[in-house]
Amino acid sequence: MDLAYGEAEEDFRRRLRQWLAGALPALPPKPAPDDWPARRAYDTGWQRMLYDAGYADVHWEASPTLRLIFLEETELAGAPYVGANFVGLLHAGPTIAAEGTAAQRERWLEPILRGDEVWCQGFSEPGAGSDLASLRTRARRDGDAYVVTGSKIWTSHAEVADWCELLVRTDPGAPRHRGISWLALPMDAPGVTVRPLRTLAGPAEFAEVFLDEVRVPVANRVGEENDGWRVTLVTLSYERGTAFAGEVVACRRVLGELAREARGNGRWDDDALRRRLGRLAAEFRALWRLTQWNVSEAEATGAVPGTGGSVFKLRYSHARQELYDAAAEVLGPGCLDLDGAWTADRLSSLSYTIAAGTSQIQRNIVAERILGLPKGR
C-alpha cells in the first residue's frame, strides 16, 4: 500500500509540467461556448500540440498511472479538456485499435491522434437509453454497403464530426444482443441529418442524428457482423479507472473556491454550511484516493475493481450534484444567475446520475456482479 510514484512517473510528471508551462500561454483564445466549428478547431489544435509534444497517445499507450498523472497535471495547469476529441480518443479509437483490421487501424487511428479527424458516438436512441441493446436503427446489407435507417440521440459534437461510431441492428431476428454491428459512418454521407439538441443547460454540444437510407461501406464495419455488442463492451471496458480523474481534481478546486467565497460573504460562519463543505472535502479526498486505488489495481491486474468503475461513478455522480447544491447555498440568491460562477456547472451536473448508465442501472451492476444478488424483479 503506497501512494508514492516511481522515478519514471515522477520524471514524466516533471517534464509534462514543464511542457505545459510553455505550451499553455501559446494557446489561442478560448472560443465562444456555442461556436462549434471554433471549438472543434480549438480542441483539435490542442490535440495537435499534444501530438507534436509526444503526448497524443497518452490515453492509448501510457500506463494507467501515467494517464492519471496526465489528467491530474493538465487539470491543475488549466489545460483544455479533451473536448471534441473525446469519442475518437476514448471510445472509437480504442475500439478500432482492439478490434479493427490492419487497414482500419491504418486509416483511422493516426488522424485521431493528430487531431485531424473528429468522431462522434451514435449509440443511444430515443427508445434505447438504459436499455441500449433495444436499439432499432436498422442496417440492411446491399452489395458492399449497409443501408442504414434510424435515428440516434445524445450525439456530442455531431455537427462538426467527420465520423460516427454507429451501432446498428443487422439481424432483427436474432436475440437482442446478437444482431448488432459496429460501423464507422462518414458524417458527410448522403442521408445524414444532424439536428442540434437543446438541453436544460441551454445549447450544448449534443445533437440528434437522423439516418435515412444512408449507405455505409461494409469495409467500415469493425468486428464481425452481428458481433457489435461485444465490440462495444471492449470499448466500454477500455477505460482504466481514470474516467473522472480530471474532474475530481477540478471538483476539489471548486470546493476551495467555494470556501473562499463563503469566507468572503459571511456564509462560512454558518456551522451547517461550513461543515457541509467539510464533508464534501472528505468526500472528494476519498474519491481521489479511490481513483488511485482503481488505477493501481488496473495497473497490476488489467481490470478496474468495483466492476469497472460503477462503485466510483455512483458515488461521484452524487457527490458532484451535492457539490453544486452546496455552491448554490454559498451563493444564496446569486445561485439564480446563469452568469454566476457555478450555475452552468450546477445545471450540467444534473445529467451525472443519468448519462452513461443511470445510478439505478449502476446499482444493479454493483449488487448483481459484486455482491452476487440474484437478477430480475
Binding site: 470546493l255 473562499r260 474519491l287 479511490l290 455512483l314 440474484p374
Partner: protein, 375 residues
C-alpha cells in the same frame, strides 16, 4: 524504482490480513462472540493470544519485540477486529505497546479516557487519562462496558471540549502523572486502589516501571510530547475508523447473504430492486471509506485521518441500519448480530473524533488560498 502507483495491498499485507482473520476465526468465532455478549467480561486468555499473535506489538520495532510494521498493517488488523466485533480496549492497548510494559504481549489491559467516556474501565489494568469519579453507565453496547466522567467536573468538561478538537488518548494526563502527585489518575484498578494495584496485572509490571515508561515517552520535551500525543491521537482515530470499516464490510456481506436466501413473494428478497439497491449503496460506502482509511494510513495526514473517520463512521452506522432493514423482523431480534454492529458503531462514532469535529477539520483545511490538492 520505475513502478507505477501501488495503492493496493502487497502480498505481505494480504498474508497479514489472512493471518489475523484466521486467528480471529479460531479464537473468536460466532459462539465466542455470543458468549462475550452474554458474559460481559474480557477474555484475558484471548487478550494474551492477541498479544502473542502480535496484534498489539505490530508497530513496535523488531528490536523491541514487535513486528516493525506500520499504520497500514495496523489498519488491516483492526479492520479484521471490527469485522468480528472483537471486544476490549484494543486501540488503547495497541497504542500503549512499548510504552506500558505488558501491553505489547497482551498481558496488561490498557484503556484510555476519551472525551467523557472510558471503555472497559473495570477490566483494565491501566487507564490513560484521568478517570477520577467515573461512574458506570448501562452501556447501549453489550460488548463495550462504559464509565462516564461527571459532567460537572471542570476537568471533565475541559476534556470534553478538548475532545471536540483533539480527542483521543490523553497523553498529557499521563505526563502530569509522572510527577507522582496524581499517579492514581494514570493508573487505575477497580475500587480506586492506588498505583501499586497495577501489580495485580499479569506480567507483574511495577509502578515505577510504568511511570518511567510514561516519562520516557514524554522525555523528548514539550514539543516532542505534543507531537507524540498528536500522533497517538491520530492513530487512535484512524484505528477506530478501521474497525468501523471492518464492521461496515461485514454488515454489507451479511445483508447480501441474507438477501440471497430469505424468500418472500416467491423469490429471494435480493431480487427486488429496493433491497438490491440498498445493498449496492452499502457497498459503495464501504469502498469509498476503505480508500479514505487506507490512504490516511499511508499519509498519516491529519485531514486524511479526519476524512477517514467521517466516512468510516457513516459506512458503519448506516451499513448496520440498512442491514437491519434488509433483515426485517429477524434483524430486530437479539439473536441476530446486526444490532451488535449498530451499537458498536454508535460507540466508535463517539470515540476519538465525532463527525462534527471531523467535518470541521476537513473544512478548516479548505484554506482561503488552498488549491486543496495533494497527490
Amino acid at each position: 524504482m520505475t513502478g507505477a502507483v501501488r495503492f493496493r495491498l502487497t502480498d505481505d499485507q494480504r498474508a497479514l490480513r489472512r493471518g489475523v482473520r484466521e486467528v480471529l476465526e479460531r479464537r473468536f468465532a460466532r459462539d465466542a462472540l455470543r458468549a462475550a455478549v452474554d458474559g460481559g467480561t474480557l477474555d484475558r486468555g484471548l487478550w494474551r493470544e492477541l498479544g502473542r499473535a502480535g496484534f498489539f506489538a505490530l508497530r513496535l520495532p523488531e528490536a523491541d519485540g514487535g513486528a516493525g510494521l506500520g499504520l497500514p498493517e495496523a489498519v488491516l488488523a483492526f479492520e479484521e477486529a471490527g469485522r468480528v466485533l472483537l471486544p476490549g480496549p484494543l486501540v488503547a492497548t495497541h497504542l500503549a505497546a512499548g510504552r506500558i510494559p505488558g501491553a505489547a504481549r497482551g498481558e496488561v489491559v490498557v484503556t484510555a479516557v476519551t472525551g467523557r467516556l472510558v471503555e472497559w474501565l473495570d477490566a483494565a489494568d491501566v487507564v490513560e487519562g484521568d478517570a477520577t469519579g467515573a461512574e458506570p453507565v448501562r452501556s447501549v453496547d453489550p460488548l463495550t462496558p462504559l464509565h462516564r466522567l461527571p459532567a460537572d467536573r471542570p476537568e471533565a468538561a475541559g476534556a470534553n471540549r478538548a475532545a471536540d478538537v483533539a480527542d483521543g488518548v490523553q497523553v498529557t494526563g499521563g505526563a502530569q502523572a509522572v510527577d507522582g502527585a496524581e499517579v492514581t489518575s494514570v493508573m487505575h484498578a477497580a475500587g480506586g486502589a492506588k498505583v501499586t494495584s497495577v501489580t495485580h496485572a499479569a506480567g507483574g509490571a511495577e509502578v515505577t516501571g510504568v511511570a518511567q515508561a510514561v516519562k520516557a515517552a514524554c522525555a523528548a520535551g514539550a514539543t516532542g510530547a505534543a507531537d507524540g500525543a498528536h500522533a497517538a491521537h491520530l492513530a487512535a482515530v484512524l484505528l477506530t475508523a478501521a474497525e468501523q470499516l471492518g464492521s461496515a464490510g461485514r454488515t454489507t456481506e451479511l445483508a447480501a447473504r441474507y438477501a440471497c436466501v430469505r424468500e418472500q413473494f416467491g423469490s429471494p428478497i435480493g431480487a427486488f430492486q429496493a433491497v438490491k439497491h440498498l445493498c449496492a449503496d452499502m457497498l459503495v460506502r464501504v469502498e469509498v471509506a476503505r480508500a479514505a482509511v487506507y490512504a490516511a494510513a499511508v499519509t498519516g495526514d491529519p485531514v486524511d485521518v479526519a476524512a477517514a473517520k467521517l466516512l468510516a463512521d457513516e459506512a458503519a452506522v448506516r451499513g448496520a441500519r440498512d442491514c437491519l432493514q434488509v433483515y426485517g423482523g429477524m434483524g430486530f431480534t437479539w439473536e441476530a448480530d446486526v444490532h451488535l454492529h449498530l451499537k458498536r458503531a454508535w460507540v466508535r462514532a463517539e470515540r476519538g473524533m465525532t463527525a462534527r469535529v471531523a467535518e470541521e477539520v476537513c473544512a478548516a483545511a479548505l484554506g482561503p488560498d488552498a488549491a486543496d490538492h495533494s497527490v
